[in-house]
């Protein structure tokens, strides 16, 4: 039963999303020849249940891998260097904010000194 070996299946289930398809193909390929029908059904069920056990472990491992991947992703997103970097959008927003501030400042200076600006 090389095919149901958990160690071999880990990487496959862990990385691909086609878990169900893989199980079906496993069942089909292990179909023995020259065995009576009830016996065949029983062995199929056994194999199927064996497959599910393996799959659950693999799924658990897959989930664990996914969780780890997410954790790595989140740490890289919120790393200190990235936090310090400002996006061009933010820079535009800050520039607009400062421009408004300067306009207000300019107006107050104009009022203070009685200066007029004509375009």
């Amino acid at each position: 039963m090389n095919i149901s070996s958990p160690s071999n299946q880990n990487s496959i289930f862990g990385l691909s999303n086609q878990t169900n398809t893989s199980i079906k193909s496993l069942v089909r390929t292990t179909d023995p020849v020259g065995i009576s029908l009830p016996e065949q059904e029983r062995s199929l069920n056994k194999q199927a249940s064996q497959g599910i056990v393996v799959d659950q472990r693999a799924i658990a491992l897959f989930e664990k891998n996914q969780f780890e991947a997410k954790a790595t992703l989140s740490t890289s997103t919120f790393s200190t260097t990235d936090k310090d970097k400002s996006s061009p959008k933010n820079e535009t927003a800050v520039a607009s904010y400062q421009a408004v501030g300067n306009l207000a400042e300019r107006e107050s200076v104009q009022q203070l000194f009685g200066i007029d600006i004509f375009a």
């Binding site: 000194f113 009685g114 200066i115 007029d116 600006i117 004509f118 375009a119």
Partner: protein, 225 residues
């Protein structure tokens, strides 16, 4: 025999010289790089008109700023705000009309007037220019007038000054329409705030002034023939 075509050319020039110069000004205005100094010229006369109005009405000019795209700013202190605001576009029209008219009067008058404008530009560099870009633009305009003064044949100086005058007038015709951008900025908006007369009325007045100035030049050119 060879004199006949020359006489005919002279006759055509005498008859249509206003339209020929006007067409030349329109062509120059459309040329991408060559038109830039002439846009600065109109911008300078606009700002200096604000400045002169401020001085005439008892105020003073603190700074004149010119920008590469043809925009400009004139910072003044005191004076009558209404007169200063109105005189920007109206003044540019008057300068354009005056330059053409004086250049048409006499070759020596054209030369003297050119020297006078050069002196005005130089004093603007000294007294009112405060930044590199403004100094550069004013220096380009000064060189333009130095070149016209240096022209050996005064006849060409006369024609060049007339083209300058028409270019300033053409810009004066088009520029006020830029104020109708819905942003409520500029001389039109300032006058609207002061007088409660809508901005587009002021734009219309400036446009009509430029049109009347052009028509006056056309009439005097026709009379001269």
């Amino acid at each position: 025999m060879s004199n006949i075509p020359t006489e005919r050319t002279v006759g055509l020039w005498k008859k249509y010289h206003f339209f020929i110069l006007f067409f030349a000004a329109i062509v120059i205005k459309q040329l991408p790089l060559i038109s830039i100094p002439f846009n600065w010229l109109e911008s300078y006369f606009h700002e200096i008109s604000h400045g002169i109005a401020a001085i005439v009405t008892g105020g003073s000019v603190l700074r004149i700023q010119l920008f590469a795209n043809g925009a400009g700013l004139c910072t003044t202190q005191g004076g009558i705000a209404f007169v200063i605001s109105f005189s920007g576009y109206a003044g540019a029209t008057f300068w354009g009309w005056g330059i053409y008219k004086l250049a048409s009067a006499h070759q020596r008058v054209a030369q003297s007037f050119s020297v006078l404008i050069l002196l005005l530009i130089v004093s603007s560099i000294v007294f009112w220019g405060r930044d590199l870009l403004t100094w550069f633009i004013l220096a380009v305009l000064a060189v333009l007038f130095v070149l016209t003064i240096k022209l050996k044949k005064l006849h060409y100086l006369q024609r060049l000054m007339q083209v300058f005058g028409l270019l300033i007038l053409l810009n004066s015709l088009a520029s006020p329409s830029y104020l109708l951008d819905g942003r409520n900025l500029g001389d039109g908006a300032a006058l609207a705030t002061m007088t409660f007369i809508p901005e587009f009325i002021w734009v219309l007045i400036w446009f009509l002034l430029a049109l009347v100035a052009l028509y006056s030049l056309y009439k005097s050119a026709k009379k001269h023939n």
